[in-house]
């Protein structure tokens, strides 16, 4: 998996395709609360775009964009976003993940605040899933000693 396999057709097609895959992943995350999809599916699509980058170029190119250390940081950041929104609702005198209470700090009504709260949760879940998929792939594909 680490040897460089140069093929101009595969590399060009993947270079054109990967931004559209990532835009689709972000679309799935952003519309997760009102249509099929959500944080998990969008995160998997975003992670698959990075895996496609590794398959078409090589693993060094992928690590230049998203290294293993940074991916682990992203996964922790997603969990912090999820737990932070939940605890924020707890601090605002509601239950854990009770997004309706967020209207006290957001300039919108409770119904709209509920929609925005679930969007924040989806963003956190998507970030964690994307980073964990990339980390599993790097651990599987790279050599034993030069992992970072």
């Amino acid at each position: 998996m680490t040897s460089r396999f140069d093929d101009v057709i595969i590399q060009t097609v993947c270079r054109i395709l990967i931004p559209f895959i990532q835009i689709f992943g972000l679309y799935v995350i952003a519309h997760g609360h009102s249509s099929p999809g959500g944080g998990f599916q969008g995160g998997v699509i975003l992670g698959a775009s990075f895996i496609l980058l590794c398959l078409s170029y090589d693993i060094k190119e992928m690590k230049r964009r998203l290294s293993r250390k940074r991916a682990i940081l992203f996964s922790a950041l997603g969990v912090i976003i999820y737990a932070g929104i939940g605890l924020l609702c707890l601090l605002l005198d509601g239950n854990y993940l009770d997004y309706g209470r967020l209207h006290r700090i957001l300039p919108v009504d409770p119904v709209r605040a509920r929609s925005m709260g679930i969007l924040g949760i989806e963003i956190g879940v998507g970030m964690t899933v994307m980073a964990v998929m990339v980390t599993i792939f790097i651990d599987l594909a790279s050599e034993e000693e030069k992992r970072n």
């Binding site: 998996m1 099929p36 599916q41 998997v44 992670g47 698959a48 398959l55 792939f137 599987l140 594909a141």
Partner: protein
Amino acid sequence: MIWQIDLILLAFVLVCALASLMVKDLLSSAVIFGAYSFFMCILWAEMGAVDVAFTEAAVGAGVSTIFFIVAIVKTTRRTKD
């Protein structure tokens, strides 16, 4: 739900599941397992569970097939038993 389409898709799912268990070549087995995931995805979309079908298409057919193939590249391609 149209029961004829359900029956055809279930037959394909069964054939793919049995083939991925029977085949000796592990790479072929992984690819047939990806086909099984796609047929499950179509079956769920046909039964109206679009969210589950989306997850199956992204995780089952996309990422887990790549993980299987990377694991095969790292180990051996032929099964021992």
